[in-house]
C-alpha cells in the first residue's frame, strides 16, 4: 500500500473523467451479459446452490483435499510446493528459474502473482517477464496493477490502449481494438515461442485427479502452459474442488458470472507435464500452493470469503466499484470481495476504511454465483475496526451518546426536539425555506452533495396523540 489514503485515491478516481467513461461502458455491459448468460442455464438457481455446496464442503475439508491433490499430481510427474507466504512463494519460483536457467518468462493471468509482486522480483534478477493476457499486458506496460480481477485494464478507453501500446510495444498506432489485437498477436507470438518458463494462475485444482484447470479466452494461457519447457502454476490454497464432476459444476457458473459466456474459449485441464510419448507440452510442471494469510482467514468469521471463485461479478454489480474503479481500493483484490479479503489477509489496521466503502446494498451477494454473504462480513470487519478503535473520533464519541439517548424514550424525544430547534436555527440563517444547505463537521459530508430537509414542527408522536384524543 502507498501512503496515499483511501479518501485521496477515491477523490482521484471520482475526478478522472476517462475512468468514468471506461467504467460506464464496461461494468454495465458485463452485468447485462451475466444476466443473459444465466437465463440460458436450465435450473440456474439449483446449479448455484450446488456450486455453493461444493465450495463450502471443500473448504471445510481443505487440508485433506490439498493432500489428495498433491499426491495425485506428484503421481503424474508434477511437482508440488507449498508456500506459507508471498516471500516464500517468490523464493520457490526464483529458485526454479535458477534451476532451469531461465532468462525469459511469459506469464498468463495470476492474481496470486500480483500478491507476490513476482514481476518485480524477476526484474531484480535481470529476468524478463512478458505478461501475455492482453489486459495484464496493458497494465504492465503502463506500470500499474490490474483494476479488475477479470478485466485488468477495464479502466482504460480504447484510445488510451492504442496510444500506450503504440508507444511501448512499437506497434502501429490504432484505436480500433481489432487492429490493435492483430498487431499484439504478431508481437507476442515471438515471446511465447522463445520464453524459457511459462507462469500461470490456477482457476481450480481437482483433488481426485491432480488436475489443474486454467480458464481463459485468448489462448495465452494455453500457449504459456504448452510452449515453454517449464510451466509454473501459482494457486491459493483455497482453489480446490474434489472431483471432475464438481469442476463441471463450478465451470457452469464461472464464465457466466465473469464474462457472460457459457464456457470460456479455453478450459485447459492439465494433469502433470508432457508424458514421454506426447508430441508437445512442457517438460516440467511445478504447482506452487500459496497460503499468504488465507489459512488465518479460514479460522475466522470471514472464512466464507474463501468460497470465492474469482469471477468478478461482485465488482461489476457494485455501485461503489462502478464509481471509483479498482485502483482506489489500493489493494490487489478490489471491489466487494477485496473489501473483505484484503483486511482479512493483511489485518484490519491499514485497511479499516475498505469495509466502510459500501452502502450495504447487497448487490454483490445477489450476483455472487456461490452466494457469498459479503455484506455480513463487511459488517464483521466494521465491528473489528470499531473494537480496535479505528473509527473516526466523532463516531467513537457519538455512538455511546446516541445509545444512551436511544434507550431512554423521554430523553430520545427531547433530543429530537432539541435537534429540530438547532436545525431550524441553522436553516433560518441559510434562507432556503427551512432546508439545511451547509451542516457543520462531522455532518458536513451530507451537505456536500445534498440538502437536509426541515424537521417537522410536530413529531409523529405528538400528532398521533392529538389525533387519538
Amino acid at each position: 500500500m502507498t501512503n496515499v489514503t483511501f479518501y485521496e485515491r477515491v477523490e482521484d478516481a471520482l475526478n478522472n473523467e476517462q475512468l468514468h467513461v471506461a467504467l460506464n461502458r464496461t461494468t454495465a455491459r458485463l452485468g447485462g451479459l451475466r444476466t443473459t448468460a444465466f437465463a440460458s442455464l436450465p435450473e440456474a438457481e439449483a446449479v448455484r446452490d450446488r456450486a455453493r455446496m461444493i465450495r463450502a464442503h471443500t473448504i471445510s475439508k481443505l487440508a485433506d483435499y490439498l493432500e489428495q491433490f498433491a499426491a495425485n499430481l506428484e503421481q503424474c510427474g508434477g511437482y508440488v510446493h507449498f508456500a506459507a507466504d508471498a516471500a516464500e512463494a517468490n523464493q520457490i519460483v526464483l529458485a526454479l528459474a535458477k534451476q532451469y536457467q531461465v532468462k525469459t518468462v511469459v506469464k498468463g493471468k495470476s492474481m496470486v502473482s500480483e500478491e507476490m509482486h513476482l514481476n518485480h522480483e524477476f526484474e531484480h534478477l535481470g529476468i524478463t517477464v512478458w505478461e501475455s493476457d492482453l489486459g495484464e499486458r496493458i497494465v504492465q506496460e503502463a506500470g500499474e496493477m490490474p483494476s479488475h480481477i477479470i478485466a485488468p485494464a477495464i479502466h482504460y478507453t480504447r484510445e488510451q490502449v492504442g496510444d500506450l501500446l503504440h508507444k511501448k510495444l512499437n506497434i502501429p498506432l490504432s484505436h480500433d481494438p481489432a487492429v490493435i489485437v492483430g498487431h499484439v498477436r504478431e508481437k507476442l507470438r515471438q515471446e511465447f515461442l522463445v520464453a524459457d518458463m511459462g507462469i500461470t494462475g490456477v482457476n481450480f485444482a481437482v483433488a481426485e485427479t491432480g488436475t489443474i484447470a486454467l480458464v481463459e479466452n485468448e489462448g495465452n494461457g494455453r500457449l504459456t502452459s504448452t510452449a515453454p519447457r517449464v510451466h509454473v502454476a501459482l494457486m491459493g490454497i483455497e482453489r480446490i474442488v474434489p472431483t471432475l464432476d464438481d469442476l463441471s459444476v463450478v465451470l457452469q457458473v464461472l464464465a457466466r458470472s465473469a464474462t457472460g459466456q457459457k464456457l470460456s474459449v479455453y478450459t485447459n485441464l492439465l494433469t502433470g507435464p508432457r508424458r514421454s510419448p506426447e508430441a508437445d507440452g512442457p517438460e516440467a510442471l511445478h504447482v506452487v500452493i500459496v497460503d499468504n494469510g488465507r489459512s488465518k482467514v479460514l479460522g475466522t468469521e470471514l472464512a466464507e470469503i474463501l468460497y470465492c471463485i474469482r469471477c468478478g461479478a461482485c465488482l461489476n454489480a457494485c455501485p461503489v466499484y462502478q464509481q471509483i474503479g479498482g485502483h482506489a481500493y489500493g489493494s490487489v483484490y478490489p471491489g466487494p470481495v477485496g473489501a473483505v479479503l484484503t483486511p482479512g489477509l493483511k489485518g484490519i489496521e491499514p485497511w479499516a476504511d475498505l469495509p466502510h466503502a459500501s452502502s450495504l446494498c447487497g448487490a454483490c451477494k445477489e450476483v455472487c454465483p456461490v452466494r457469498i454473504d459479503i455484506p455480513r462480513m463487511l459488517l464483521k470487519l466494521r465491528e473489528e475496526g470499531h473494537e480496535k478503535g479505528l473509527a473516526p473520533a466523532w463516531v467513537k464519541m457519538g455512538l455511546p451518546v446516541y445509545r444512551f439517548v436511544a434507550t431512554k424514550p423521554a430523553l430520545f424525544k427531547w433530543a429530537i426536539k432539541l435537534s429540530g430547534m438547532g436545525a431550524r436555527l441553522l436553516a433560518s440563517a441559510q434562507g432556503k425555506g427551512g432546508w439545511l444547505t451547509k451542516l457543520p463537521p462531522p455532518l458536513s459530508g451530507w451537505t456536500q452533495h445534498r440538502d437536509f430537509p426541515p424537521f417537522a414542527a410536530k413529531s409523529f408522536s405528538q400528532q398521533f396523540k392529538e389525533m387519538s384524543e
Partner: protein
C-alpha cells in the same frame, strides 16, 4: 529444512476448528448426470452455440463430401503445409490419401526435449497456417470441442495456426461436460492435457469489445462427420 507443506496444512487444520463456514456439509450428495443419444438434436445446439461465437460449422452429406470439403478448405486457405493429428486420429478414412494427392504436406509435429531443438521446432511450427485435428468429443450445451493430447494428437495443432479445422464425428457429442467426464473416468490419467475449445481465440480486454484471433486460432471450422 523447513517443511512448508506441513506448516501450511497444520495451520489450515488448526483454523478449521474455529472458522465459520456457513452451509458447509460433510459431503456433496451424488447427482444424476444427463444421458442423451439424440445426436441430431445435440448437433443442433452444438452448431448454434459454436456459430454464436463465430465458428463455421460444416455438415457434409457423406464421408466423400467431407474429404473433398476439407481438402478444398485447406487449399482455399493457401496452405500446402498443415499441422495435423496423425492419420489414425482423423475420423475420415479417405482423407490422408486425398491430402497427399492434393500435395498438402504434414509437418513433423514432435517437439524435441532439448532447449535449442525445442525453440527451433516451435519457430517452424509457428509458420504453419492451418491446423487439422479430430476431436475427442463435442459438448452440446456449451458448443465446445474436447481435445485430449497424445503422441498422435499434438496440442499445438489446435493452437498455433491462424485457422483450425476440427473433424467431429457426430456420435462423439455429449449433452454436458459432466456427461463427458462420466463416460471417460480415467481420461486425466491417460493424458497430460485436455482442453475444451469453445470458439475462436478472443479477448474483450479493450472496453469489453469482442475481438477474435488473439493468440490462438482466429478461424475455426468444425466438420460434423456423419
Amino acid at each position: 529444512m523447513r517443511d512448508s507443506r506441513k506448516i501450511v496444512l497444520d495451520q489450515i487444520r488448526n483454523s478449521l476448528k474455529s472458522g465459520v463456514l456457513p452451509t458447509a456439509r460433510a459431503s456433496v450428495p451424488p447427482r444424476e448426470v444427463a444421458v442423451n443419444t439424440d445426436y441430431a438434436a445435440m448437433s443442433q445446439t452444438f452448431q448454434r452455440d459454436m456459430e454464436a461465437v463465430g465458428a463455421k460449422i460444416h455438415r457434409p452429406v457423406n464421408s466423400f463430401a467431407a474429404v473433398d470439403l476439407v481438402v478444398d478448405l485447406i487449399q482455399e486457405l493457401g496452405g500446402n503445409e498443415i499441422l495435423a493429428w496423425d492419420d489414425a486420429e482423423l475420423p475420415l478414412t479417405g482423407l490422408p490419401y486425398a491430402l497427399h494427392k492434393a500435395g498438402i504436406r504434414r509437418v513433423d509435429q514432435h517437439v524435441p526435449a532439448d532447449d535449442a531443438g525445442r525453440k527451433q521446432k516451435l519457430a517452424a511450427l509457428g509458420e504453419v497456417r492451418v491446423g487439422l485435428t479430430g476431436a475427442s468429443a463435442g459438448l452440446a450445451d456449451t458448443g465446445s470441442l474436447a481435445m485430449i493430447s497424445s503422441a498422435a494428437r499434438p496440442r499445438l495443432a489446435s493452437l498455433l495456426p491462424l485457422t483450425h479445422i476440427a473433424l467431429l464425428p457426430i456420435n462423439r457429442l455429449y449433452p454436458t461436460m459432466a456427461s463427458f467426464f462420466a463416460a471417460h473416468p480415467v481420461l486425466t490419467q491417460d493424458a497430460s492435457n485436455l482442453v475444451f475449445i469453445s470458439g475462436p481465440s478472443r479477448t474483450a480486454d479493450i472496453e469489453m469489445t469482442l475481438t477474435v484471433g488473439v493468440h490462438g486460432p482466429k478461424y475455426i471450422h468444425v466438420v460434423l462427420c456423419p
